[in-house]
């Protein structure tokens, strides 16, 4: 595109230059003819002897400036061709002896126009040739020379951090690309190593925490069985017990998040979403009723999606739990299916929430862990389910677009 523009500008400049040169040439020619005509008058050759393109009139008075060359473009009617032609005209008043002469010289511009066209034609051809060559050359360069670079890009695009498949760049003849590839290789190896280290640490931490937590929890339970404890002792004990429960839940939630991220849940099957919703609602129906909530379901659209059965259960149950947890007294929960979309709506005390709520530990409620929405978000991301939140008429809506 840039070369095309360049050629257009260059061609335009050349055209203008040509025109200028030809203009000057014609003007010189006119001046020349005028000099000849003047000489003829000086030498007393009769005016009639001059050719058609010169017009000399003897004028008596000198009203206008002498020796002022005036060039103008004009058109002249050609009797033979029966049409107008472009002419350049030179008009000058000369004083020869005592008489004044108004001398006008004409010169047709047809030949010069033809000249320009004749010169521009081959030039245009050369330009076009150059342009095609440039475009083809560019194509060749990008196809040929940049091919290894594109291959590297594709390899990088297909690379998945954490996959056991090692990354392989093909060898090229270009030294720079080889350097780039080897640098990328080192970098990716380092990232992969760090990633594995971190993953191992997370897994170990999550795993090793469980045993001490089990001990704390069980000791608390044993102490709680004791009948000798007074309120003063029971209160902190209960608090330790509850904190311990909370800690293990956070641990579980985070482990789950890490697992979804690392793609540990990869065995997928075709699942009827409405069935999952029905069974999960059944699971929570008593809680919903005990919390004084009204539930309305409209599951007319059948929906199938290929997903891990455990994850879809976690996803749906988290959405239902979210709807229960952030509801008002005597509030309502609606679950509606649309074409390839399922909507969970609930009434709530809070006004519209911001999307930061999908991040971890962003909680509005003291008792919640702040992991529910982030788990929902992670599962949706992993399976390319579009999750949309909206707030209208006092209802918080979560739409899943399959």
């Amino acid at each position: 595109m840039a070369s095309l523009l360049f050629f257009a500008v260059a061609g335009f400049i050349i055209l203008i230059n040509f025109n200028n040169v030809i203009d000057n040439d014609i003007n010189d020619f006119l001046v020349n003819r005028e000099e000849i005509a003047t000489t003829q008058i000086v030498n007393d050759i009769p005016i009639e002897a001059l050719n058609n393109y010169e017009q000399i009139i003897k004028i008596s008075t000198n009203q206008e400036e002498i020796d002022n060359l005036m060039f103008t473009d004009t058109i002249v009617y050609d009797i033979i061709d029966d049409e107008f032609h472009a002419y350049r005209k030179l008009n000058v008043i000369r004083k020869i002896g005592t008489a004044f002469y108004d001398i006008t010289i004409f010169k047709s511009l047809i030949e010069s126009k033809l000249l320009v066209v004749e010169i521009l034609k081959p030039m245009l051809l050369v330009f076009l040739g150059l342009l095609t060559f440039l475009i083809l050359g560019n194509l060749f360069i990008s196809r040929g020379l940049w091919r290894p670079f594109k291959e590297t890009l594709i390899t990088l695009k297909n690379y998945e951090l954490g996959s056991t498949r090692s990354i392989n760049f093909s060898k090229t003849n270009t030294q720079e690309f080889n350097q780039l590839n080897s640098m990328l290789n080192t970098m990716i190896k380092k990232i992969h190593y760090d990633y594995l280290n971190l993953k191992e640490f997370t897994e170990n931490a999550a795993h090793e925490i469980q045993t001490p937590l089990a001990i704390i929890r069980n000791k608390c339970e044993m102490l709680l069985q004791s009948e000798k404890l007074t309120d003063v002792e029971l209160k902190p004990l209960k608090s330790i017990y509850n904190s311990c429960l909370r800690l293990s839940k956070i641990n579980r939630g985070l482990t789950l998040l890490a697992k979804i991220e690392s793609g540990a849940y990869d065995n997928s099957e075709k699942i009827d979403i409405t069935e999952v919703v029905k069974s999960q609602v059944q699971h929570y129906i008593e809680v919903i009723e005990l919390n004084g909530l009204m539930i309305k379901m409209d599951l007319n659209h059948q929906m199938h999606f290929v997903i891990n059965p455990d994850l879809i259960e976690i996803l749906v149950s988290n959405l239902i739990r979210n709807a229960i947890k952030h509801n008002t007294t005597n509030g309502k929960i609606h679950i509606i299916t649309l074409q390839n979309c399922i909507r969970f709506s609930n009434s709530g005390n809070q006004s519209k929430m911001d999307t930061g709520q999908f991040r971890r530990f962003n909680r509005s409620n003291k008792n919640s862990l702040g992991l529910g929405l982030s788990i929902i978000n992670k599962i949706c991301l992993a399976y390319n389910i579009q999750l949309k939140y909206s707030y209208e008429n006092g209802l918080h809506n979560f739409d899943l677009n399959f």
Partner: protein, 225 residues
């Protein structure tokens, strides 16, 4: 009732023994896979509590060995791994139940009793507790010779209370038993009062005794009067 505890973490093992002895089980405990294999080869147990992570191998090996011996002992897996595939492979090999650490003693207790109930083919399917009779197959509950209708959760709760007779049961423990790990959903556990109130009312209305007492600030206790 004889139980075998296979757990390498000494503290956890001690706690398990202390707790299960309190529930009148006879307990033996080992902490390695090889010792465990020896034990299951030589003795008969009613149930085995098996930790997956053992110093000299996986608990799953012990489970496989047990199945090779054709012993129909109930096995509960205890694991620090919450991994679902671990759970699936354990259940596929033939474990009867699976608990993730940290676990609740009452929950473990209820599950052991449920397994032992299921394994006793010649035994009856009814649980008697005072004037309450429960048929664990048909889920029928008879109080004072009257049939009462319980919701699914009320039934589960009643069974949980009876399994943990004379023990203090926290509200958290009840909620976890009924809804699994979903306890964070509840702003307060107040709604559990509603459940318990309904259950109590149904039993008392049928002329049954009120076995449930509230331990202030802690939870509940189910005991014969």
């Amino acid at each position: 009732m004889k139980l075998l505890i296979i757990e390498d973490e000494q503290e956890v093992q001690d706690d398990l023994i202390e707790f299960l002895k309190g529930e009148n089980f006879l307990c033996e405990a080992v902490s390695t896979a090889s010792l465990a294999k020896e034990k299951v080869y030589m003795h008969e147990y009613d149930a085995i509590i098996l930790d997956i992570g053992l110093p000299d191998g996986s608990g799953l090996e012990v489970l496989e060995y047990l199945k090779k011996l054709n012993k129909d002992t109930g096995v509960i897996i205890l694991s620090a791994h919450g991994a679902i595939d671990d759970k699936i492979s354990a259940l596929n090999i033939g474990a009867d139940d699976y608990l993730t650490k940290p676990f609740d003693f009452n929950e473990l207790n209820a599950r052991i009793k449920s397994i032992i109930r299921r394994k006793q083919f010649h035994g009856n399917n009814t649980i008697d507790f005072g004037d309450i009779k429960i048929n664990t197959v048909s889920h029928e509950v008879v109080v004072n010779n009257k049939n009462i209708t319980l919701t699914q959760k009320e039934y589960q709760m009643l069974l949980y209370f009876i399994s943990n007779e004379n023990r203090v049961i926290t509200k958290e423990s009840i909620v976890e038993h009924l809804w699994g790990d979903d306890t964070d959903m509840f702003d307060s556990f107040d709604f559990i009062y509603g459940h318990i109130k309904n259950l109590r009312k149904k039993i008392v209305n049928a002329g049954g005794n009120d076995y449930l007492s509230t331990i202030y600030g802690v939870g509940y206790k189910f005991q014969k009067i």
